[in-house]
Protein backbone atom coordinates (compact mmCIF):
# COMPACT_ATOMS: atom_id res chain seq x y z
CA UNK A 1 0.00 0.00 0.00
CA UNK A 2 1.44 3.40 -0.95
CA UNK A 3 1.68 6.31 1.46
CA UNK A 4 -1.03 8.24 -0.40
CA UNK A 5 -3.46 5.32 -0.19
CA UNK A 6 -2.73 4.97 3.51
CA UNK A 7 -3.47 8.66 4.14
CA UNK A 8 -6.93 8.56 2.62
CA UNK A 9 -8.07 5.36 4.27
CA UNK A 10 -11.73 5.83 5.14
CA UNK A 11 -13.89 4.39 7.87
CA UNK A 12 -17.65 4.02 7.78
CA UNK A 13 -19.36 5.20 10.95
CA UNK A 14 -23.04 5.39 11.81
CA UNK A 15 -23.91 8.65 13.54
CA UNK A 16 -27.40 8.95 14.97
CA UNK A 17 -28.60 6.28 12.59
CA UNK A 18 -27.04 7.77 9.45
CA UNK A 19 -23.97 6.29 7.79
CA UNK A 20 -21.03 8.59 7.02
CA UNK A 21 -17.43 8.15 5.94
CA UNK A 22 -14.49 9.81 7.60
CA UNK A 23 -10.75 9.62 7.36
CA UNK A 24 -9.38 7.17 9.87
CA UNK A 25 -7.93 8.51 13.09
CA UNK A 26 -10.94 10.69 13.88
CA UNK A 27 -11.47 11.28 17.59
CA UNK A 28 -14.87 11.85 19.19
CA UNK A 29 -13.93 15.47 19.84
CA UNK A 30 -13.14 15.90 16.15
CA UNK A 31 -16.36 14.16 15.17
CA UNK A 32 -18.40 16.54 17.32
CA UNK A 33 -16.68 19.49 15.73
CA UNK A 34 -17.27 17.99 12.29
CA UNK A 35 -21.03 17.74 12.82
CA UNK A 36 -21.31 21.13 14.53
CA UNK A 37 -22.34 19.88 17.97
CA UNK A 38 -22.54 22.54 20.70
CA UNK A 39 -20.08 22.50 23.58
CA UNK A 40 -22.65 22.17 26.36
CA UNK A 41 -25.38 19.67 27.16
CA UNK A 42 -24.03 17.00 24.83
CA UNK A 43 -23.48 13.32 25.52
CA UNK A 44 -22.00 10.57 23.41
CA UNK A 45 -22.51 6.83 23.33
CA UNK A 46 -20.19 4.61 21.32
CA UNK A 47 -21.63 1.20 20.48
CA UNK A 48 -24.20 1.63 23.27
CA UNK A 49 -21.65 2.58 25.94
CA UNK A 50 -21.43 6.09 27.31
CA UNK A 51 -18.15 7.86 26.66
CA UNK A 52 -17.42 10.48 29.29
CA UNK A 53 -16.40 13.92 28.12
CA UNK A 54 -12.86 13.56 29.43
CA UNK A 55 -12.26 10.62 27.08
CA UNK A 56 -13.53 12.27 23.90
CA UNK A 57 -10.09 13.44 22.66
CA UNK A 58 -8.54 10.01 23.25
CA UNK A 59 -11.13 7.72 21.71
CA UNK A 60 -10.56 7.22 17.99
CA UNK A 61 -13.41 5.89 15.89
CA UNK A 62 -13.14 2.58 14.09
CA UNK A 63 -14.79 1.25 10.97
CA UNK A 64 -18.33 0.08 11.76
CA UNK A 65 -18.71 2.09 14.96
CA UNK A 66 -22.15 3.29 15.93
CA UNK A 67 -22.19 6.68 17.61
CA UNK A 68 -25.09 8.39 19.31
CA UNK A 69 -24.77 12.12 19.92
CA UNK A 70 -27.57 13.53 22.03
CA UNK A 71 -28.62 16.78 23.59
CA UNK A 72 -31.69 18.06 25.41
CA UNK A 73 -34.89 19.07 23.72
CA UNK A 74 -38.28 20.05 25.00
CA UNK A 75 -40.30 17.09 26.14
CA UNK A 76 -42.02 15.36 29.01
Amino acid sequence: MSMSEDKVRLIDVTINGTGRSFESGLSITELLSEIGAPKEAIAVALNESIVTRALWPQILLSDGDKVEVVTIYQGG
Binding site: I42, I50, V70, I72, G75
Partner: protein
Amino acid sequence: MNDQSAATSPEADDVLNVANLTIRNRLILGTGGAPSHRVITDTVGVSGSEIVTVAIRRFDPNNKRASIFADLKELAVHILPNTAGCYSAKEAVLTAELAREALNTDLVKVEVISDDLTLLPDPIELTLATEELVSRGFQVFAYTNDDPVLADHLVKLGVAAVMPLGSPIGSGLGILNPHNISIIVERSTCPVVLDAGIGCASDAAFAMELGCDAVLVASAITRAQVPPLMAGAIAKAVQAGRESYRAGRIPKRRFALASTENDCRPFVD
Protein backbone atom coordinates in the same frame (compact mmCIF):
# COMPACT_ATOMS: atom_id res chain seq x y z
CA MET B 1 -46.10 11.98 51.33
CA ASN B 2 -48.52 12.94 54.05
CA ASP B 3 -47.00 16.08 55.57
CA GLN B 4 -50.21 17.91 56.40
CA SER B 5 -49.13 18.43 60.00
CA ALA B 6 -45.64 19.59 59.09
CA ALA B 7 -46.61 23.16 58.33
CA THR B 8 -50.07 24.25 59.32
CA SER B 9 -49.74 27.96 59.94
CA PRO B 10 -50.14 30.19 56.91
CA GLU B 11 -46.82 31.83 57.66
CA ALA B 12 -44.87 28.60 57.94
CA ASP B 13 -42.10 28.10 55.39
CA ASP B 14 -43.78 25.48 53.28
CA VAL B 15 -40.87 24.25 51.23
CA LEU B 16 -40.66 20.93 49.44
CA ASN B 17 -37.51 18.89 49.78
CA VAL B 18 -37.26 16.47 46.91
CA ALA B 19 -34.08 14.66 45.85
CA ASN B 20 -31.31 17.16 46.61
CA LEU B 21 -33.54 20.14 45.86
CA THR B 22 -35.50 22.50 48.05
CA ILE B 23 -38.27 24.27 46.19
CA ARG B 24 -41.12 26.60 47.09
CA ASN B 25 -43.09 26.46 43.87
CA ARG B 26 -44.84 23.11 43.65
CA LEU B 27 -45.66 23.25 39.96
CA ILE B 28 -43.16 21.31 37.86
CA LEU B 29 -43.33 22.30 34.22
CA GLY B 30 -43.14 19.79 31.43
CA THR B 31 -41.96 21.30 28.20
CA GLY B 32 -43.45 18.79 25.75
CA GLY B 33 -45.97 20.09 23.26
CA ALA B 34 -44.90 23.73 23.37
CA PRO B 35 -45.10 25.43 19.97
CA SER B 36 -41.87 27.35 20.59
CA HIS B 37 -39.10 27.92 23.09
CA ARG B 38 -40.56 31.36 23.70
CA VAL B 39 -43.75 29.78 24.99
CA ILE B 40 -41.71 27.69 27.42
CA THR B 41 -39.72 30.63 28.75
CA ASP B 42 -42.88 32.71 29.06
CA THR B 43 -44.71 30.00 30.98
CA VAL B 44 -41.75 29.45 33.30
CA GLY B 45 -41.70 33.16 33.96
CA VAL B 46 -45.42 33.43 34.67
CA SER B 47 -45.67 30.28 36.78
CA GLY B 48 -42.46 30.75 38.75
CA SER B 49 -41.74 27.04 38.38
CA GLU B 50 -38.35 25.96 39.65
CA ILE B 51 -38.11 22.53 38.01
CA VAL B 52 -38.51 21.98 34.27
CA THR B 53 -38.41 18.66 32.44
CA VAL B 54 -36.56 17.96 29.21
CA ALA B 55 -36.15 15.01 26.87
CA ILE B 56 -32.96 13.44 25.56
CA ARG B 57 -32.88 13.20 21.79
CA ARG B 58 -30.37 12.83 19.00
CA PHE B 59 -28.51 16.02 18.15
CA ASP B 60 -29.73 17.34 14.82
CA PRO B 61 -26.76 18.56 12.78
CA ASN B 62 -29.15 20.32 10.39
CA ASN B 63 -30.52 22.39 13.28
CA LYS B 64 -34.08 21.85 12.17
CA ARG B 65 -34.86 21.93 15.85
CA ALA B 66 -32.74 23.60 18.47
CA SER B 67 -31.81 22.41 21.93
CA ILE B 68 -33.71 24.07 24.76
CA PHE B 69 -30.61 24.11 26.98
CA ALA B 70 -29.53 27.71 26.40
CA ASP B 71 -33.02 29.03 27.17
CA LEU B 72 -33.28 27.06 30.41
CA LYS B 73 -29.76 27.99 31.48
CA GLU B 74 -30.73 31.66 31.32
CA LEU B 75 -33.78 31.00 33.47
CA ALA B 76 -31.66 29.29 36.15
CA VAL B 77 -34.22 26.54 36.74
CA HIS B 78 -33.48 23.00 37.84
CA ILE B 79 -33.48 20.77 34.77
CA LEU B 80 -35.09 17.37 35.23
CA PRO B 81 -34.21 15.13 32.28
CA ASN B 82 -36.58 12.30 31.50
CA THR B 83 -36.51 9.03 29.62
CA ALA B 84 -39.58 9.82 27.52
CA GLY B 85 -39.95 7.50 24.56
CA CYS B 86 -38.27 4.51 26.21
CA TYR B 87 -40.04 1.16 26.03
CA SER B 88 -37.60 -0.98 28.01
CA ALA B 89 -35.53 -0.75 31.16
CA LYS B 90 -32.36 -1.06 29.09
CA GLU B 91 -33.27 1.96 26.94
CA ALA B 92 -34.29 3.98 29.99
CA VAL B 93 -31.04 3.28 31.84
CA LEU B 94 -28.94 4.18 28.80
CA THR B 95 -30.94 7.37 28.26
CA ALA B 96 -30.56 8.32 31.91
CA GLU B 97 -26.81 7.82 31.66
CA LEU B 98 -26.73 10.06 28.58
CA ALA B 99 -28.70 12.68 30.51
CA ARG B 100 -26.30 12.49 33.42
CA GLU B 101 -23.36 12.94 31.10
CA ALA B 102 -24.98 15.80 29.17
CA LEU B 103 -26.24 17.75 32.15
CA ASN B 104 -23.96 16.62 34.95
CA THR B 105 -26.95 15.73 37.09
CA ASP B 106 -28.10 12.65 38.96
CA LEU B 107 -31.73 13.69 38.64
CA VAL B 108 -33.86 11.69 36.25
CA LYS B 109 -37.54 11.21 35.67
CA VAL B 110 -37.83 7.62 34.57
CA GLU B 111 -40.56 6.86 32.08
CA VAL B 112 -40.91 3.43 30.54
CA ILE B 113 -43.94 3.32 28.29
CA SER B 114 -45.88 0.20 27.39
CA ASP B 115 -47.50 1.18 24.09
CA ASP B 116 -48.22 4.15 21.86
CA LEU B 117 -51.97 4.11 22.28
CA THR B 118 -52.18 4.45 26.06
CA LEU B 119 -48.66 5.68 26.88
CA LEU B 120 -49.18 3.97 30.22
CA PRO B 121 -46.08 2.97 32.19
CA ASP B 122 -44.95 -0.64 31.85
CA PRO B 123 -44.80 -1.66 35.52
CA ILE B 124 -42.26 -4.45 35.05
CA GLU B 125 -39.79 -2.50 32.92
CA LEU B 126 -40.32 0.56 35.14
CA THR B 127 -39.42 -1.41 38.25
CA LEU B 128 -36.34 -2.93 36.61
CA ALA B 129 -35.17 0.47 35.38
CA THR B 130 -35.76 2.09 38.76
CA GLU B 131 -33.85 -0.59 40.62
CA GLU B 132 -30.88 -0.25 38.28
CA LEU B 133 -30.89 3.56 38.28
CA VAL B 134 -31.07 3.79 42.07
CA SER B 135 -28.15 1.36 42.32
CA ARG B 136 -26.19 3.61 39.96
CA GLY B 137 -26.72 6.62 42.21
CA PHE B 138 -29.50 8.37 40.33
CA GLN B 139 -32.14 10.36 42.14
CA VAL B 140 -35.14 8.85 40.46
CA PHE B 141 -38.49 10.51 39.91
CA ALA B 142 -40.56 7.50 38.93
CA TYR B 143 -43.49 8.09 36.57
CA THR B 144 -45.94 5.36 37.47
CA ASN B 145 -49.52 4.15 37.26
CA ASP B 146 -52.08 5.14 39.89
CA ASP B 147 -51.46 1.81 41.58
CA PRO B 148 -50.68 2.04 45.32
CA VAL B 149 -48.94 -1.35 45.33
CA LEU B 150 -46.60 -0.46 42.51
CA ALA B 151 -45.96 2.92 44.14
CA ASP B 152 -45.02 1.11 47.36
CA HIS B 153 -42.52 -1.03 45.48
CA LEU B 154 -40.92 2.03 43.89
CA VAL B 155 -40.71 3.84 47.22
CA LYS B 156 -39.03 0.81 48.78
CA LEU B 157 -36.52 0.76 45.93
CA GLY B 158 -35.43 4.22 47.06
CA VAL B 159 -36.89 6.68 44.57
CA ALA B 160 -36.63 10.40 45.27
CA ALA B 161 -40.25 10.91 44.27
CA VAL B 162 -43.09 8.78 43.07
CA MET B 163 -45.14 10.26 40.24
CA PRO B 164 -48.52 8.60 39.75
CA LEU B 165 -50.53 9.61 36.72
CA GLY B 166 -53.92 11.23 37.08
CA SER B 167 -54.92 9.90 33.65
CA PRO B 168 -53.06 9.11 30.42
CA ILE B 169 -50.44 11.55 29.12
CA GLY B 170 -51.97 14.40 27.16
CA SER B 171 -55.53 13.21 27.75
CA GLY B 172 -56.60 16.11 29.96
CA LEU B 173 -58.97 13.73 31.72
CA GLY B 174 -57.93 14.92 35.16
CA ILE B 175 -57.65 12.56 38.12
CA LEU B 176 -59.61 9.42 37.31
CA ASN B 177 -58.87 7.54 40.51
CA PRO B 178 -58.56 10.01 43.38
CA HIS B 179 -59.06 7.21 45.87
CA ASN B 180 -55.85 5.51 44.74
CA ILE B 181 -53.95 8.78 44.67
CA SER B 182 -55.00 9.36 48.29
CA ILE B 183 -53.75 5.93 49.28
CA ILE B 184 -50.42 6.54 47.55
CA VAL B 185 -50.08 9.86 49.40
CA GLU B 186 -50.94 8.30 52.76
CA ARG B 187 -48.45 5.46 52.42
CA SER B 188 -45.54 7.09 50.62
CA THR B 189 -42.49 8.10 52.62
CA CYS B 190 -41.17 10.19 49.75
CA PRO B 191 -42.77 13.11 47.89
CA VAL B 192 -45.68 12.32 45.59
CA VAL B 193 -45.89 14.31 42.37
CA LEU B 194 -49.11 13.99 40.40
CA ASP B 195 -48.02 13.57 36.81
CA ALA B 196 -50.02 13.41 33.59
CA GLY B 197 -53.65 13.98 32.82
CA ILE B 198 -54.09 17.45 34.27
CA GLY B 199 -56.42 19.36 31.95
CA CYS B 200 -57.02 22.63 33.73
CA ALA B 201 -56.40 24.56 36.93
CA SER B 202 -59.07 22.83 39.01
CA ASP B 203 -57.47 19.42 38.29
CA ALA B 204 -54.20 20.72 39.72
CA ALA B 205 -55.91 22.11 42.80
CA PHE B 206 -57.64 18.77 43.32
CA ALA B 207 -54.33 16.91 43.14
CA MET B 208 -52.87 19.16 45.80
CA GLU B 209 -55.97 18.84 47.97
CA LEU B 210 -55.52 15.07 47.81
CA GLY B 211 -52.17 15.67 49.47
CA CYS B 212 -49.80 15.43 46.54
CA ASP B 213 -46.59 17.32 47.22
CA ALA B 214 -46.35 18.77 43.73
CA VAL B 215 -47.91 18.55 40.29
CA LEU B 216 -46.21 18.13 36.94
CA VAL B 217 -48.04 19.75 34.05
CA ALA B 218 -47.09 19.87 30.40
CA SER B 219 -49.84 19.61 27.78
CA ALA B 220 -52.49 21.47 29.78
CA ILE B 221 -50.23 24.51 29.62
CA THR B 222 -48.22 24.11 26.43
CA ARG B 223 -51.27 23.19 24.35
CA ALA B 224 -53.68 25.68 25.94
CA GLN B 225 -54.97 28.41 23.69
CA VAL B 226 -53.06 30.96 25.76
CA PRO B 227 -50.24 29.03 27.45
CA PRO B 228 -48.90 31.77 29.76
CA LEU B 229 -52.42 32.50 31.02
CA MET B 230 -52.96 28.81 31.81
CA ALA B 231 -49.51 28.60 33.43
CA GLY B 232 -50.47 31.38 35.82
CA ALA B 233 -53.86 29.83 36.52
CA ILE B 234 -52.40 26.41 37.28
CA ALA B 235 -49.63 27.86 39.44
CA LYS B 236 -52.26 29.64 41.54
CA ALA B 237 -54.35 26.49 41.68
CA VAL B 238 -51.39 24.47 42.91
CA GLN B 239 -50.77 26.99 45.65
CA ALA B 240 -54.46 27.19 46.56
CA GLY B 241 -54.77 23.43 46.60
CA ARG B 242 -51.73 23.11 48.81
CA GLU B 243 -53.06 25.65 51.30
CA SER B 244 -56.46 24.00 51.26
CA TYR B 245 -54.83 20.66 52.05
CA ARG B 246 -52.75 22.13 54.86
CA ALA B 247 -55.80 23.91 56.28
CA GLY B 248 -57.73 20.63 56.49
CA ARG B 249 -61.10 20.25 54.83
CA ILE B 250 -64.25 19.69 56.86
CA PRO B 251 -65.55 16.13 56.92
CA LYS B 252 -68.30 15.28 54.45
CA ARG B 253 -71.69 14.67 56.07
CA ARG B 254 -74.82 13.02 54.82
CA PHE B 255 -77.10 15.70 56.23
CA ALA B 256 -76.89 19.38 56.92
CA LEU B 257 -75.12 20.91 59.92
CA ALA B 258 -76.29 24.42 60.75
CA SER B 259 -73.55 26.97 60.92
CA THR B 260 -75.65 29.34 63.06
CA GLU B 261 -76.56 28.50 66.61
CA ASN B 262 -80.24 27.82 67.20
CA ASP B 263 -80.38 29.41 70.66
CA CYS B 264 -82.11 32.76 71.26
CA ARG B 265 -84.01 32.93 68.03
CA PRO B 266 -86.66 35.65 68.11
CA PHE B 267 -90.29 34.62 68.53
CA VAL B 268 -89.29 31.16 69.72
CA ASP B 269 -89.99 30.37 73.37
